[in-house]
Subunit: 126 residues, 2 copies
Amino acid sequence: MTASIRIGELAARTGVSVRSLRYYEEQGLLTSLRSPSGHRRYLESQAERIVFIQRLFSAGLSSRTIVDLLPCVESPSADTSEAALERMRQERDRLDRHIEDLIRTRAVLDELIAANRAHRSQLARA
Amino acid sequence: MTASIRIGELAARTGVSVRSLRYYEEQGLLTSLRSPSGHRRYLESQAERIVFIQRLFSAGLSSRTIVDLLPCVESPSADTSEAALERMRQERDRLDRHIEDLIRTRAVLDELIAANRAHRSQLARA
DNA sequence: ACTGAACCTCACACGGACGTGAGGTAGGAA
DNA sequence: TTCCTACCTCACGTCCGTGTGAGGTTCAGT
């Protein structure tokens, strides 16, 4: 329960660079305690939060947007503002549209691959 | 059949900025003929190519990668190099993995939204 | 011929997540 | 104590698609 994980260790566990962890903190995505000498100390539980943040980044959310959502993630409790929840829904819908678009793009690529393959096998017979 | 579309018109048709069209040309994604005075002239058929390029950009491909793929798109014919086709398959697979990841992320968001909603309605009864 | 819009070529700015290096302190094993 | 590694804080660099402005030419309508 004591915050005992050092930044290097956390980076190793999550696969996120030390630089990025400091950046997340700077952006308000992550908090850390400090040892008397000023070194960051983390709780075990921070790891999953970081993985989640990574997930949101790769879904195209900005750090600013993630900050807005996090209250909703941390405490699905009383103080979860309606605004945060609405923001979450917005991002969910945006993501949904993006997925649909990517699926169409994938289909186009599949068609192109098929067309090339067809032409190729036609050549092979000639 | 004569290349008669001007860049502003093409931008309007495709929803891509004039700046971006020039950039695409600079990156080798697009070609243009020039009027005697040096103004770009495009074929009608360029429009769909541009839409496709946009599609690839939004799927996270870099202009460099797109350049590698385009031979495969333009002419699914003899000179379609095996390398280009292989590159296309790679990008298809990368996209596939990304879509899977996004779908998982969407599921997580859905869970969070549901959790918050549940808590909210619980409060309403109190 | 005049005028305003559209075009041209540089070329610098930006946003955002992260890399990287400088210059320095802390921690722990030999 | 020595020495190596991990940590700290600036702060500048990078990538890349795109915006933007300067300074100039061309086109089309009147």
